[in-house]
C-alpha cells in the first residue's frame, strides 16, 4: 500500500511528465511511451488500485489520450499486459461481456481504444456476466474503424470480430467482475481529473473576466455555481478513496456512477460561467467536456448504474453501508 504522501508525489510526477510530453509534441505525443518510462506496468502489477488512481487521474487532468485501459483489463483478466494486446470493451453505456459465441463461432461488435489499430491480438470476453468465456483472437479476424464521435482525439475504435471460437476458456465470473470494477475505477479517476480541470478553467476565467466593473467571481450566482462544482468533485474523490480502500464491485460501481453525475454537474456549471468563450474551440474547456461525455458511457453511465443498484437494493430489501470508519 502506497501512503497518501507518496501517492501525491507520484500523481504530480505523472501529470508533469504527460503535460511536458504534450507541450513538446508537434503532433500527437506518445503518452504510452511516457507511462512506460515511468514504470506504469510495474506499478499496475504491484499496486493496481493505486496505479489506476495515479495514472488515470493524470490522464484526465491533462486530457491525454492513452491506451492504458487495455493494460488494466488485460492484467485483471489474468494475462500479461503488452503493447500489442488490446481488449474489446463492453458497448457504450453497458457492461455486459461484448462477445457472443454461437455454434463454435465468435461474434462481437463493440468499442476499443486506439490500441485496436496497432495490436496483433485482442481479448474478447463472451457470454454473460455469470458465465463468461475468454477468447484471444488475432486482429486479422477483426474489422477496425476509428470512431470520430464527439471526441475524435479520444482514439476510440469500433471493432467487428467474426471468427472461430476455438480456444475459448471459461473465465471465473469473479475475474470478470474485478476487471469491470478496476476498469470503472480507472475511468472514474480519469473523469475526476477532467472535472477538476474544468473547474480550474472556469475559476481562472471568473477571476479574470471583468464585467460591470468587477471580476465576475464577485457575483454570488457565479460563486455558488463554482462552489457546487467543487462539492461534486470532492464527493467524487471521496468515493474513489473509498473504492481504493474497500475495493469491491459495489464501491467501484458507485464511484463510476458518482463520476458520471459529477462530470455533468461540473460541466454544466463551468460552461455557464465560461459563457461565450466556453462555447468555442479557442478555449480548452470543450476538450474536457467532450472527453467526459465519451468516458461516461464506458462500463455503464450513471443512469444505468443507478438503476441497476436500485434494483439490487429492492431485490434484497437491504441497504448495505459498504464502508466503515
Amino acid at each position: 500500500m502506497i501512503d497518501a504522501d507518496q501517492r501525491a508525489v507520484m500523481e504530480e510526477t505523472v501529470r508533469g511528465a504527460i503535460a511536458d510530453a504534450l507541450a513538446r509534441a508537434d503532433e500527437g505525443a506518445d503518452v504510452g511511451a511516457v507511462l512506460a518510462r515511468l514504470g506504469w506496468l510495474d506499478l499496475l502489477d504491484g499496486e493496481p488500485g493505486d496505479a489506476v488512481g495515479i495514472v488515470f487521474g493524470a490522464l484526465g487532468a491533462t486530457n491525454a489520450s492513452a491506451t492504458a485501459l487495455d493494460d488494466v483489463l488485460v492484467s485483471a483478466l489474468g494475462r500479461e499486459p503488452r503493447a500489442d494486446i488490446a481488449v474489446l470493451l463492453p458497448q457504450f453505456a453497458a457492461w455486459d461481456p461484448p462477445g457472443r459465441i454461437d455454434a463454435g463461432n465468435l461474434y462481437a461488435r463493440s468499442l476499443a481504444t486506439a490500441r485496436a489499430a496497432t495490436a496483433s491480438e485482442m481479448l474478447v470476453v463472451c457470454g454473460t456476466a455469470s458465465e463468461p468465456w475468454l477468447l484471444a483472437v488475432p486482429m486479422t479476424v477483426s474489422e477496425v474503424r476509428a470512431v470520430r464521435g464527439i471526441d475524435p482525439d479520444a482514439g476510440f475504435h469500433e471493432v467487428r470480430v467474426q471468427g472461430s471460437a476455438a480456444g475459448a476458456t471459461r473465465l471465473d465470473p469473479a475475474a470478470w467482475r474485478s476487471a469491470l470494477a478496476l476498469g470503472r475505477r480507472a475511468v472514474a479517476h480519469q473523469i475526476a481529473g477532467a472535472s477538476r480541470a474544468m473547474l480550474d478553467l472556469a475559476r481562472t476565467h471568473a477571476m479574470e473576466r471583468v464585467q460591470f466593473g468587477r471580476p465576475i467571481a464577485r457575483f454570488q450566482t457565479v460563486r455558488h455555481r463554482l462552489a457546487d462544482a467543487l462539492v461534486a468533485v470532492e464527493a467524487l474523490e471521496a468515493t474513489l478513496t473509498a473504492a481504493r480502500e474497500e475495493p469491491n464491485p459495489d464501491t467501484a460501481a458507485l464511484a463510476k456512477a458518482v463520476a458520471g453525475r459529477t462530470a455533468r454537474t461540473v460541466a454544466a456549471h463551468c460552461q455557464q460561467v465560461l459563457a461565450g468563450i466556453g462555447f468555442t474551440t479557442e478555449h480548452p474547456f470543450h476538450r474536457f467536456l467532450k472527453r467526459t461525455m465519451a468516458l461516461e458511457g464506458l462500463f455503464g453511465s450513471a443512469d444505468e448504474i443507478v438503476l441497476d443498484v436500485g434494483r439490487q437494493l429492492l431485490a434484497a430489501r437491504s441497504v448495505p453501508t459498504l464502508i466503515e470508519l
Binding site: D3, Q220, A227, L230, A235, A238, A302, G310, L314
Partner: protein, 391 residues
C-alpha cells in the same frame, strides 16, 4: 494511518464495533423504547437519558473521552461509532444525542478543569441535559452580530459575578436543559467577533424564562430563552474574556465529524425503511438508487473527514463541503419517501404517516441549521476556491 483496511487502528476499530454491536444485541430489550411509537418529545428525551445512563453504567459512554473528565480515553472515533450504532438502531434521535458532541468538547477545552471534571460526566451519564445559546432574533447567519449582553459587577478582570441580559432563540431542548453554553456580548456593540464571551449558565438561575416554539412538524424541540438580570459567577466563563469567538469556532470540527457520521447512519436506516416497503419496479429502483448514491458519496466524504481529524489534522472551511452533502442527501432521502409512497406524508393518519410526516418536515431544515446552504457555498467560494471577497 487509520484509513487503509488492515492497518492496526482499523482492526482495533473493527473489533470495537463488533463488540459494541454484540453488546447492543444482547441488551436490546433493556435499551428499546418503552413508549408506543412514535412517542412525544417528552418520551424521546426520557428515552435518550435512559439510553445514556445504561451505556454509562456499562462503560461505553465514557470511551473516547479524556480521563480528566471521567472518560476512559481512546480515539474520539470510539464515541463516533457508538453514536452511529445507536442511530442505526433507532434507539435515540441522533440530532438530540449528538448534542453531546457539540457541548462537551467546549467544556473540556475551555472550562476551568475542576468544572469540566464535575459536569461532563453528568452530561454523558444522562443525569443532565444541556443546551446551546448562540442564535438571537436578529442574529441568524451573522453570528458575530449577537447582542445578548454580559456586564461585570465591577472591573471585568476582577469581578466575581457577571449579569446577563438579552434573548436567545432556536435553542434546542432549552425547556429540558439544566445548563446552557452561551455566547454574550462583552465588548462594544460594534465589536463583532472581537467582543464576544462564552459562559456556562445554570438554567435554574433566577431571571431565565424559556418559551418553547412549535416547529413545522408540531414538536416543541426548540425555544426562545430570555435573560433578565441573570447573575453568573465569573468562574463560569468559558475561555478568555472576549475570546468567545474561538469557543464558537472550536465546535465546528466536532459538529462536522462525529455528528455527521451519526446523521449518515440515521439516513441509511431511513432509506432501509423505505426500501422495506417501496414498490419493486424500475421507477422505485431509480429513486432509491439515486438516494443511495448520494448517501454513499456523503458517507465516503464523512469517513475521510473523521480520519483526517483522528490523524491530528485540523478541520476548517473544507467541512462546508460535508455540510452541503449532508443537507442534500437528507432532503433527497425524504423526497424519495414522498415520491415512492404517495399519500404517506400528506394524508396517512396511521403510525407510518405520523412518523414519515414528522421526519419529512424536519428534513427541510437540513439546508438551514448549522449554517445555511448559502453560507456554506459562500465559505466554499471564498476559502476553498479562493475567489476573493464578494463585496
Amino acid at each position: 494511518m487509520h484509513g487503509p483496511k488492515g492497518s492496526r487502528s482499523a482492526i482495533e476499530l473493527a473489533d470495537y464495533r463488533a463488540a459494541l454491536h454484540a453488546w447492543l444485541d444482547a441488551n436490546h430489550e433493556e435499551l428499546a423504547p418503552r413508549y408506543p411509537p412514535p412517542g412525544t418529545l417528552d418520551d424521546h428525551i426520557a428515552q435518550m437519558q435512559r439510553v445514556k445512563s445504561i451505556l454509562f453504567e456499562a462503560g461505553w459512554m465514557q470511551l473516547g473521552w479524556p480521563e480528566r473528565v471521567g472518560g476512559r480515553g481512546g480515539s474520539p472515533m470510539l464515541r463516533t461509532e457508538l453514536g452511529a450504532a445507536i442511530a442505526a438502531r433507532d434507539l435515540t434521535d441522533p440530532g438530540l444525542f449528538s448534542l453531546i458532541e457539540v457541548l462537551a468538547p467546549t467544556l473540556i477545552d475551555f472550562a476551568p478543569p475542576e468544572l469540566a471534571a464535575e459536569v461532563v460526566p453528568r452530561l454523558l451519564s444522562g443525569a443532565e441535559i444541556w443546551c446551546q445559546g448562540f442564535s438571537e432574533p436578529d442574529t441568524g447567519s451573522d453570528l458575530a452580530s449577537l447582542r445578548c449582553r454580559a456586564v461585570p459587577e465591577g472591573d471585568a478582570r476582577t469581578a466575581s459575578t457577571w449579569v446577563i441580559n438579552g434573548q436567545k432563540v432556536w435553542t434546542s431542548l432549552a425547556q429540558y436543559a439544566d445548563r446552557c453554553v452561551m455566547l454574550t456580548r462583552t465588548g462594544p456593540a460594534d465589536s463583532r467577533h472581537r467582543g464576544i464571551t462564552a459562559f456556562f449558565v445554570d438554567m435554574d438561575t433566577p431571571g431565565i424564562t424559556v418559551a418553547p416554539i412549535e416547529m413545522i412538524n408540531g414538536e416543541l424541540e426548540f425555544a426562545e430563552v430570555f435573560f433578565d438580570d441573570v447573575v453568573v459567577p465569573a468562574d463560569r466563563m468559558l475561555g478568555e474574556l472576549n475570546g468567545g469567538w474561538a469557543v464558537a469556532m472550536s465546535i465546528l470540527p466536532y459538529e462536522r465529524s462525529s455528528c455527521f457520521w451519526q446523521r449518515v447512519a440515521y439516513l441509511y436506516r431511513r432509506l432501509q425503511r423505505l426500501v422495506d416497503v417501496a414498490p419493486d419496479d424500475d421507477r422505485a429502483a431509480e429513486v432509491v438508487g439515486n438516494a443511495y448514491l448520494q448517501l454513499h458519496a456523503l458517507r465516503a466524504r464523512s469517513r475521510a473527514t473523521q480520519h483526517r481529524l483522528a490523524e491530528g489534522g485540523t478541520l476548517g472551511a473544507e467541512t462546508s463541503i460535508d455540510k452541503v452533502l449532508v443537507a442534500t442527501a437528507e432532503q433527497t432521502t425524504y423526497d424519495a419517501v414522498r415520491r415512492l409512497l404517495p399519500g404517506r406524508v400528506e394524508m396517512d393518519d396511521g403510525l407510518a404517516g405520523e412518523v414519515w410526516r414528522g421526519e419529512y418536515l424536519y428534513s427541510r431544515s437540513a439546508t438551514i441549521y448549522g449554517g445555511t446552504a448559502e453560507v456554506q457555498r459562500n465559505i466554499i467560494a471564498r476559502r476553498l476556491l479562493e475567489l476573493g471577497s464578494d463585496e
